[in-house]
């Protein structure tokens, strides 16, 4: 009944169940640990079940036919699929990136494993089978591996470039390019060079580059980039009429939503108007809710670049000192549209009215009422 293998597996299952119980009772349990251990219990009991069910794959003498004698070639894909599955489990309780890596591993393993298994039963000739496996999968494997390789190179190299000063960057760029050209030249003029030497050079270069990338990440970005990121001057709004150096870079000019906006503000023939679904005609005021992000669409239908600017009252920053609450879109060109999100925490009962206007365009504004 119990073959030696299944006894061994039963013992592992028992042990993992005991360790799960001990962990839950004695150690302060965390979700991650509990998932890992219960996963172990589930996996080992599954394997044990299979082993018991198939009697360890042990078949009595004389029941084996010739066709099944040929064992499949060893494969790493079951291992990768299992690793992927564990990553998916761990990912559900940790971070999404782990989950995604797991999914990628499982998908890759599924495809590779399926094709491999299929190719192995194509004929009785191993090398022929291997050949058709490669014919099918290499056109997929090579581009993917190449893309991953390029991504790793670019990422590592860019980390290095971000860490060192601008001048050092220029020098390293020149030196690196020169070295690559020289090595390439060397290899091409000496075609009899051993394959192993060429791969050794490539491996050393790759390790060096990735190592430098990791080291640079530890070192961090160079001073001026750190300052720029802290000041956040790429997203720091500049709401004037003129084009700003940073904020108006990479302008978004289309939106994909077709419904769900609180209002649509349009600039046409030098006039600013508001449209609200359900209210007929063009409005000169809109009512938005207090303490809630209200999304409005700004559409520029005039020649030239314009932005929509919102004045949303004042905020007291110290006794007697207050600051205007302003937000705005980027400068957008004719025919373009962009979202503006208004979050207004105080009703518009007192003080100056809240308004939407176009910097540089006098006498046009939409009043924003906040009950």
């Amino acid at each position: 009944m119990f073959t030696p293998g299944s006894k061994y597996l039963i013992a592992i299952t028992g042990l993992s169940a005991v360790s799960f119980a001990l962990y839950m009772l004695l150690v302060h349990p965390s979700a991650l640990g509990a998932v890992a251990l219960i996963g172990l219990v589930a996996a080992t009991s599954l394997i044990t079940g299979v082993a018991l069910f198939t009697r360890d794959g042990h078949t009595p003498e004389g029941q084996t036919s010739a066709a099944t004698v040929d064992t499949p070639t060893p494969s790493m894909w079951p291992l990768i699929a299992a690793a992927g599955l564990s990553l998916v489990l761990v990912g559900t309780v940790t971070t999404p990136i782990v989950f995604i890596l797991g999914i990628v591993a499982i998908l890759a393993a599924l495809v590779e494993w399926t094709v491999q298994a299929w190719s192995e039963s194509a004929s009785g000739d191993r090398s022929y089978n291997e050949g058709i496996r490669e014919r099918i999968l290499n056109p997929v494997e090579y581009p993917i591996l190449a893309a991953v390789g390029i991504a790793v190179i670019i990422f590592s190299f860019s980390r290095v470039m971000l860490a060192i000063s601008k001048d050092a960057g220029a020098i390293i760029f020149i030196v690196a390019a020169a070295v690559i050209s020289l090595v390439g030249l060397l290899i091409s003029v000496r075609p009899q060079l051993k394959k192993s030497i060429v791969s050794a050079i490539a491996v050393v270069a790759a390790i060096g580059l990735v190592g430098a990338g990791i080291a640079s990440m530890g070192f961090g970005m160079r001073e001026d980039l750190v300052v720029a990121a802290e000041e956040d001057h790429y997203s720091h709004q500049e709401c004037g009429a003129e084009k700003s150096d940073h904020f108006d870079k990479g302008v978004s000019e289309t939106i994909s939503a077709t419904s769900g906006a609180d209002a649509t503000i349009e600039l046409l023939d030098g006039k600013l108007t508001a449209q609200v679904q359900g209210i007929e005609g063009l409005q000169d005021s809109i009512t938005v809710r207090r303490s809630n992000p209200s999304n409005i669409i700004f559409r520029n239908k005039d020649a030239g670049e314009f932005r929509l600017k919102a004045y949303l009252g004042k905020k007291q920053i110290a006794d007697g000192v207050s600051e205007d609450l302003i937000t705005c879109t980027q400068l957008i060109s004719e025919g373009a549209e962009q979202w503006l999100t208004l979050t207004i925490n105080k009703p518009s009962v007192s003080g100056e009215p809240y308004t939407l206007s176009i910097p540089g365009l006098e006498g046009q504004s939409i009043v924003v009422v906040v009950p």
């Binding site: 906006a261 209210i279 009512t287 809710r289 303490s291 999304n295 925490n345």
Partner: protein, 415 residues
């Protein structure tokens, strides 16, 4: 030999079947009786089969025929299955002749349901598009859901005399025979607005505006409740639509626009105003309320409540429910008086608002004494790490009985 054995087996089987049937009978009868009685409930304000306005009527005109068709098919299937199970049960007879496929029959049995579904589909699409029409809207109201109550604000609308935006909660007041469009959204999680007598459900989704149309034929109160699970007190998130005749609606509007009247000096209500200023205005807005130095009081619910809002109490006593329409602000007798009145007298009774004899002292005092005890909310100051110290709901403020006395006197002036 074999044959004899199985017939002798069949006898106890029949006996057992009979016994099971006998035992099941009272259960089946009981269940059927309950369903029957439930369908006759006299007090079922959220009955989905009693439309009280054109939008709900459209849904009803669709669902009744569909229900009939589905019901007839369901009964036919049930009868045929039951008949076959009993008639052809295993009595030890030999296995009958097996047939594999009957193209004519199979094609017929595919085409008939497909045709039925196509017809249902056409009418469903028509109704869906009808219900989404916005071009003939006569009035818009912004509806905002948050844990666990609804806020309504009425943008200025000259046609209805709304010169200033009106803001209220719990009870949505609308004029009869008017195509009202709700522009819905949420301040925290997804909620869903549903007044069964007036229309179907429509989700209120943070960051988006969804529309929902209501129109009531007759004055009256139409009950509803949030139908998208939204956390701890989802079950306690209700709402009511109150339809008033056009004249009564105009009166309601002018009352909502009335400016704030501070209580007279040296009254209990005036002392209540002071307590209110100290305890309540960090969350609740009362329009027109000023501090001793004359500066207007602007509440800061965004700093204290997770959703960023608390009900505006300027005209609390003009509604007759509170806290997500969960509790009556009026005593049961007064409530019955309003709910059960004829549609002609309903408006006047509703507009009378809440005065001292009608005030539901028990629930309002209970609320001020310890709100989370009446309606589960995340209001334990020690457990607010996840929301950065902000409450979800109204906390227990530990007020003294004399403060509560003063507050009730003050709240009664907010009409």
């Amino acid at each position: 030999m074999n044959h004899i054995e199985s017939t002798s087996d069949a006898v106890p089987q029949v006996h057992m079947l009979g016994r099971v049937m006998r035992r099941l009978k009272p259960m089946v009868l009981g269940a059927a009786g309950t369903v029957f009685l439930a369908s006759c409930a006299s007090n079922a304000p959220q009955d989905t089969w009693v439309p009280k306005g054109p939008n709900a009527q459209k849904i009803d005109s669709l669902q009744k025929p569909v229900f009939a068709v589905a019901g007839i098919i369901g009964v036919i299937v049930a009868v045929v299955v039951t008949y076959s199970v009993i008639k052809f049960r295993d009595r030890g007879q030999p296995i009958p002749k097996q047939s594999h496929g009957n193209p004519a029959l199979e094609i017929t049995l595919t085409i008939i349901p497909a045709l039925i579904l196509a017809v249902v589909g056409v009418f469903t699409f028509r109704t869906v598009f009808d219900l989404n029409k916005t071009s003939d809207t006569q009035m818009i109201i912004n509806v905002t859901g948050q844990q666990w109550w609804w806020e309504y604000d009425y943008p200025a609308n000259n046609e209805y005399g709304i010169t200033q935006p009106i803001i209220t909660s719990g009870q949505l007041v609308i004029p009869v025979g008017t195509k009202v469009m709700l522009r819905q959204t949420s301040r925290d999680v997804i909620h869903s607005y549903w007044i069964p007598a007036l229309n179907g459900k429509r989700d209120a989704v943070p960051g988006r505006i969804t529309i929902n149309r209501l129109e009531a034929d007759e004055p009256g109160i139409y009950a509803g409740q949030c139908t998208e699970f939204c956390g701890l007190s989802h079950a306690n998130m209700r709402m009511e639509a109150v339809a008033l005749s056009k004249e009564d609606f105009a009166k309601w509007v002018s009352n909502q626009l009335k400016t704030y009247a501070a209580p007279a000096e040296n009254t209990l209500a005036k002392e209540g105003e002071t307590v209110f200023l100290n305890q309540c205005t960090r969350c609740h807005q009362v329009n027109g309320l000023t501090r001793a130095d004359g500066t207007p009081v602007i509440a800061a619910p965004d700093e204290n409540v997770w959703s960023g809002a608390a009900p505006n109490l300027s005209h609390l006593m003009s509604r007759n429910t509170f806290a997500g329409a969960m509790f009556n602000l009026v005593t049961p007798e007064c409530r019955t008086d309003v709910w059960k009145s004829e549609s002609l007298t309903f408006g006047a009774k509703y507009l009378a608002g809440v005065d001292e004899p009608c005030l539901n002292q028990t629930d309002l005092r209970g609320w001020l004494r310890n709100a989370p005890a009446m309606k589960p909310m995340y209001a334990n100051p020690a457990l607010l790490a996840a929301t950065g110290g902000k409450y979800r709901g109204m906390p227990n403020l530990g007020l003294s009985e004399s403060d509560i006395e003063k507050l009730v006197a003050y709240l009664l002036t907010l009409k």
